[in-house]
Symmetry: C2
Subunit: 908 residues, 2 copies
């Protein structure tokens, strides 16, 4: 039995039967394009006749060193004969010639990577016959010169520049600017020139035999699979090299035969907004390229009903059928040749994030896809881009567009131009919004990039340092905006005839790559979109992982709850200490020389804390609120050491020139006070504060702080209980590395809580848990679980200690290089490190739950809002993730995706 | 069958047979003292007749609520009859009375915790008979009053003070100072007084019936087992409460019957030096207490041969037999009663560290113990105390002793008195040796304790803060020296009639607790002792764990090799950078504005490094030398930031009052230079340098540093190879957290090494390994092992990152409290944390060796010199430990112990 190398589009059933009905394998054998053309033929959509030479033929061709396998050509000829029968035209017949296109089509789309030859079948004789038949000399001759050029370049490897040189010469001679203005005679001259180029450059003449053209084109497509460009692309995109490409041979149809012909492209829904209804463009009496090239003014697809009502109805019906068949919004190409509609291609349409949400939602309403599929089709990136600030549509339309670069990191950013990173840091510290503008960025610039609200470069690509760092650290960025001429010496940037100096305002849209002069208004993202709400609701039905928010204030907590948070996973109580009314009290607490003075200061903090906690409880009525006890090193609350030293130096200088005794006394007093404060700051200095006296170590040293925080929590609970609010506080102890620490602090908390609850006559459970944020806590998790009511993985610190890498230091020095050079594939502070940190989490959970099977365990580091990390959290069996309020919707979706992935549902 | 409650000393075989020959169970049943008395009896050593009431009787007594079990008393009477037969004396017979002692004796010694009653059998009648028989009225009456007092206090619970009051009154009346000066009449009066005290205070009269005395004494010993004092002791010493105590009834013998009687104590060898031969004291015609009390001038045991040649010969023979029997140096008590030698007790003798070494060594030579046993008997503490500086013996003898306290942390320390920790730090920074003198220490003092060379307190005990911290951090310390009166206000300390002011010199011996005024010369420990060398050689034969040294200089390496190191486990190359001739070059390297200037500075370092490495290779000819590439953050090599800021402030002030333009210009120039340096220092500042740009991260950023260090290593190897030295360098990369880092640096090293070896025409293996010192490295050890030739666990950093605890910060703040309060049982920086850090090491080894089964793996943190940690390293299957040169002998011994323990040999 000879191998079957060729399937006609109307034989797709046979291919599918041969492959046990497996459509994925059909796509592998026939390629995505060939399979879909066959599929459309099968369901009765008018597709021009044609056939596919299989990818198996390509692989056999490659492995034999470039020989068409036995039987391929015979089967091609047989299929060509069938097309002739179906079309009534004959390949190579000047009177009624069949022309075909030869297109590559692998299983996965590799846009622009592989080759196509159109209009195969034209030769000197056929051309004259077609001119007679169509009466359109220009069209036929132009098609012919295109065939020669495509064949020369794709099949024979002649560089395009040689053809362009001929065309340019011809235009010059004719004195015209456009090829379309060339006369028939000009084109005949071009054709002769092209033929000469082919013969001179490739040593073979352009073949006059259509069969020679076809065979050589098929071989050329096969060859292109192993071209360097295609290989590079596959390596980058992770596509296997042994898939091979199929080749599709399709009868050419022409939308430019006259006014009963047309061509167009259309989406089955609005790709920008997602609204239902066809959206697209068409041209009467035109070629497909004309619609795309924008040379002629296209007409909106709605007008097709006016021009060709029957065709319009038929196309609308087909679009609906295709959408239902492929269960997604379709992007279609069509041609009307002499009153007959042909569909040339259909594929799932690209769309904006809002459209993706609307379409997925509506397809559920139309009964086309399930809720799970809808959720699976929305990517976290979609939600994320909906969460980024966007430019106000009207403001952006009115703004002065000055340049466009690569949209490498999404979001809108508005700030003042700074040309160097140190200035960016300085201005940022002054509270100014800065856009860092550089020719390109280097590792030395990272501190400035982090300080900036947006990054703009004049060179560099999608994998440039600027792009990588911006994406990693979430800064909107446009790179490679080559219109910008940066003059660092003069501290200005020239764009066209415009000059911007350092400090000028500029706006950039990292989602689109656009750059605007001045300040363009941004708008908060629209999170109340009903389609989005519905989708997130479906995501909630699917997911098993809980989603809480990190929030320290009532307003944050309210926002988090509106965005779907199921509780507070982390309230950082120290944030409450930085308020202007509180900081002096905190400083008195820290510097108190005696325990009783310290207790007095601590007591003053009680009402503040109680008030803050009460706000959180009100916002989270009926939901858990995890409150972490004081965590940071105390010196963070004290005045800046450098500032104090400068103050002392200044006072010493002023003292030298004090005009009188009273001024001198005054200065001496200030000097003494500054020196005392400096001594206090110095006494708390640490070599590595991250690893010093903080977290539970503070509570061990100053149990009065633990007591007052506990008192504030339960007094607040009692206060809101009187208002009918159901407060569910959970007290969390940070930085524990040994169960003895937890046992000590647990005893302090339990005693104080019992006192308060007795005083206030309230009965609520006292829930006490711990952070797992140093490796040892994970390693002794069984012993810790015996004492803890819950775990919360502080993955920021756990990552720092597991890697031995301070985030503050790494991100401003070597981490950028590590990411740019591929030493690290991802930033471990952005995406959970599965190999290291993840193993510790698994260890801790396994051991902790061996001791306490129903142990609640969450993640409250920044990883809680990162989709890839959320997938790991789901896999590890964590109870919940906690993230910043704005990322709660992303987390809800990502958690649903993680669940769907575990059920082997394909995720967008 | 009635239970057997009583065993005579000559029935010890029956006890052993009943317990299946298990001597340990015999010791349990009869107590340590009873078992040994029986054992001596069995081997023919003259022990006074006696018997043991079992600990089982004690337990039955306790559990029945204080009733002597049936049969006990009958069996006691039967055994007493046997003693009467053996001695020919009769219990209660005034003409020839048998007197007995009743002594407690549990399985484990509980010195001073339980009770003894001597001279049981005396009463008014017997006393008179004995006076007639002995003619020594004072002796007999004094014995009687002692019996009444002991019986009253031990059995009847009468407080001693009542008896003392009677004695005092009697002495006052007689006008004498000492009891021994009381006349017979005086004593009769005292006896009457004692009887009255007993009757008044206990409501029962002192029993005249010897059997009543005996029964009550036995019961009292049983009761004492459950006394509060004994229970507290057992809890502290970890002795089980259900062991019970046995009671030994022994015929009294008297060394004060006349000139043919004597008493003494002796060791079978010299307990101070370990030299062979008896060492001890005796007195003719005296009681045991007289020898100990030091009232009379004792005679050296050698003189016994002059006084009683036969007794001396017999005792020498017995001592030898006992030593051979018990296989260790013996501490014996003996009494000669009327020309007859009795051994009253023998036990293993306490000894100094040098004696322990000498004795263990000699016992092997004498064929008494095996080499393994000798090694097992030497504790790491013995070696360690031999390694501490000691006071020169002559200097110490001549020194002015001013006080004695508790010897809580060994070693000699000489320094200037500082009364507060801040001053101690200040002086220490000035290079002065400081002794911190405090009433007691608190956590706030820890920084001063660490800065001091020794610690001295006037109060506090063995578990005081000062003691714990001093031991943990290895500072010699004497605490609770209550003779000191510290006057903080006047900054002086009064000792007797001497005043010492702050800054005065003082010397303390933490090994003995002695304190001396002034500077007492110390001497380096004697490590060339042949016994020690032999023992350590035997340890080497036993151990399987290798021992290397951490050394950065040739002289250190030579010393390490002399002390038995089998290679260098860690050479810290940065130590080579701090030399005065090198630091400026290093600073130029760090602050170089361009790569070529940096390369130039780097090249200047090459000869320095090459020279240092060559020295190491020479010292370690034929042994491996592990060289760690540059590790610390570069700013450590730059000038101190505070100093620069002070300099700038000073320059600004001087500028204001500059007398002329040229001075001003000069100052401005200096100011500018200081500011540039400050900016450079600032640009390298890090929030947490421990976790910042250091280790392999430096090499990744500046591969030229890796290259130059590699070049220096292999050029040095070539240089010494020309001298015939076999250099075995192993290059070690620090702080790796991901295999990609190692792969990158490995490529750099391999390329440079290949260049050098080709240039120099040398062929040696290029061995490249990595530190495992952050948790992630341990977690991904399999991937790292694929690239590393060896692992070295940097347990200092691994402990810091696993606990999330900076050693610098912890040890000066909360760690002292954690240890004092028992939150941590041990300092994890001193002894490897088995639960956390140890698990990471095990994980790394398991995974690393799964990938590379013969992977060499060592430990090079300070734990490498700690015996408990070494035991863990042996258990984990590490290849070697590496420690400071002086600790190499400790490590050799500890490694042998670890091996012996794994063979279940009992370790000292």
């Amino acid at each position: 039995m000879t191998t079957r190398w060729v399937y006609r589009f109307d034989e797709v059933d046979e291919a599918q039967t041969a492959l046990n009905g497996d459509w994925d394998r059909v796509r592998g054998l026939l390629g995505g394009k060939g399979a879909n053309l066959g599929d459309m033929t099968r369901i009765g959509v008018p597709v021009p006749p044609g056939f596919t030479v299989t990818s198996a033929a390509c692989n056999a061709y490659s492995s034999s060193g470039g020989r068409l396998p036995d039987g391929v050509w015979d089967q091609v000829l047989e299929a060509m004969a069938n097309i002739e029968t179906q079309t009534g035209k004959t390949f190579g017949d000047p009177d009624d010639p069949l022309l075909v296109a030869c297109r590559s089509g692998a299983k996965f789309s590799m846009p622009g990577m592989m080759d196509t030859v159109l209009d195969i079948g034209l030769n000197d004789d056929v051309v004259e016959g077609m001119i007679r038949a169509t009466g359109n000399e220009h069209f036929v001759l132009d098609s012919y010169r295109r065939l020669i050029q495509m064949f020369g370049s794709v099949v024979l490897g002649v560089a395009d520049e040689h053809f362009e040189a001929v065309l340019t010469a011809s235009r010059d001679r004719a004195g015209v600017d456009e090829d379309s203005a060339l006369s028939g005679d000009d084109l005949r001259e071009v054709i002769a020139g092209f033929k000469a180029v082919v013969e001179r450059r490739s040593s073979v003449p352009f073949p006059m035999d259509p069969q020679d053209q076809l065979r050589a084109s098929i071989r050329a497509v096969f060859e292109s699979w192993d071209g360097k460009r295609a290989k590079d692309y596959r390596r980058a995109a992770g596509i296997a090299n042994d898939l091979g490409t199929a080749v599709n041979i399709v009868a050419m149809v022409f939308g430019n035969y006259g006014d009963d012909s047309a061509t167009g492209v259309a989406m089955s829904r609005n790709a920008t907004t997602g609204e239902p209804g066809l959206e697209g463009d068409f041209l009467v009496n035109a070629q497909g390229e004309d619609v795309v090239a924008g040379i002629r003014q296209t007409r909106r697809i709605a007008e097709l009903a006016d021009v060709m009502p029957d065709i319009s109805a038929e196309f609308t019906d087909i679009a609906h059928r295709l959408e239902t068949h492929y269960r997604d919004m379709q992007d279609m190409e069509f041609t009307v040749e002499r009153g007959k509609l042909w569909i040339l291609q259909t594929r799932d349409g690209k769309r904006t994030a809002p459209a993706a949400v609307r379409i997925a939602h509506d397809l559920v309403g139309d009964g086309i896809i399930t809720r799970e599929e809808a959720v699976a089709r929305i990517s976290p990136d979609h939600i994320e881009s909906l969460l980024h600030p966007q430019f106000d549509t009207a403001a952006k339309a009115a703004a002065t567009h000055i340049a466009t670069g690569l949209n490498v990191s999404p979001g809108a950013a508005v700030g003042q131009i700074a040309f160097d990173p140190d200035l960016a840091v300085e201005w940022a510290e002054d509270g100014r919004d800065v856009i860092l503008v550089r020719a390109e960025t280097k590792p030395d610039d990272v501190h400035g990039m982090l300080a900036a609200v947006g990054i703009l470069t004049s060179s560099g690509g999608r994998t440039s340092h600027a792009a990588l760092v911006a994406r990693q650290f979430g800064r909107p960025a446009v790179v490679g905006a080559s219109e910008l001429e940066i003059n660092l010496g003069a501290r200005l940037v020239v764009v066209g005839d415009r000059q911007l100096v350092e400090g000028d305002w500029v706006s950039l849209d990292g989602t689109t790559g656009e750059v605007f002069a001045g300040r363009v208004d941004t708008m908060a993202p629209d999170l109340d979109d009903p389609a989005l709400s519905a989708l997130l609701g479906w995501a909630d039905e699917i997911r098993s992982l809980g989603v809480r928010a990190n929030a320290d204030e009532g307003s944050d907590a309210e926002r988090a709850r509106r965005l779907g948070a199921e509780g507070i996973g982390l309230c950082r109580t120290e944030h409450m200490f930085f308020g202007v009314d509180r900081l002096p009290v905190v400083q008195r607490m820290i510097t108190a020389p005696t325990e009783s003075l310290r207790n007095a200061a601590v007591a003053e903090l009680l009402p503040f804390q109680r008030h803050d906690f009460a706000e959180l409880f009100r916002a989270m009525d009926g939901l858990p609120v995890v409150i972490r006890l004081l965590d940071p090193p105390l010196h963070e609350f004290l005045p800046d050491r450098d500032g104090l030293q400068r103050e002392i130096a200044d006072l010493r200088i002023r003292l030298r020139s004090a005009p009188d005794l009273s001024t001198m006394e005054d200065l001496l007093e200030q000097l003494e006070a500054a020196r005392v404060t400096l001594a206090q700051v110095d006494s708390r200095r640490e070599a590595n504060p991250m690893l010093g006296l903080r977290g539970v170590r503070l509570g061990m040293q100053y149990p009065e702080i633990t007591r007052i925080q506990t008192r504030a929590i339960y007094e607040a609970a009692a206060e809101v209980a009187a208002e009918g609010v159901d407060a569910q506080p959970e007290v969390m102890i940070p930085l524990v590395c040994d169960p003895a620490e937890l046992a000590d602090q647990r005893a302090v908390i339990e005693a104080e809580a019992a006192d308060v609850l007795a005083e206030r006559d309230l009965e609520i459970p006292v829930v006490i848990g711990t952070m797992i944020e140093v490796p040892r806590a994970a390693l002794v998790a069984d012993d810790i679980a015996a004492i803890a009511d819950f775990f919360s993985f502080g993955t920021n610190d756990l990552t720092q200690t597991t890697f031995g890498m301070s985030r503050d230091d790494a991100e401003t020095s070597f981490l950028g290089d590590y990411l740019a050079n591929g030493v690290f594939a991802t930033n471990p502070f952005a995406t959970l490190d599965a190999k290291g940190v993840g193993r510790l989490i698994e260890t801790a959970l396994t051991h902790g739950r061996a001791k306490k099977p129903r142990l609640t365990a969450g993640v409250c580091g920044e990883h809680g809002g990162d989709p890839a990390s959320i997938a790991l959290c789901n896999e590890y069996g964590l109870t919940y993730v906690s993230c910043s309020p704005f990322r709660v919707p992303v987390a809800r979706l990502a958690a649903a995706h993680a669940e769907l992935a575990s059920r082997s549902v394909e995720i967008a």
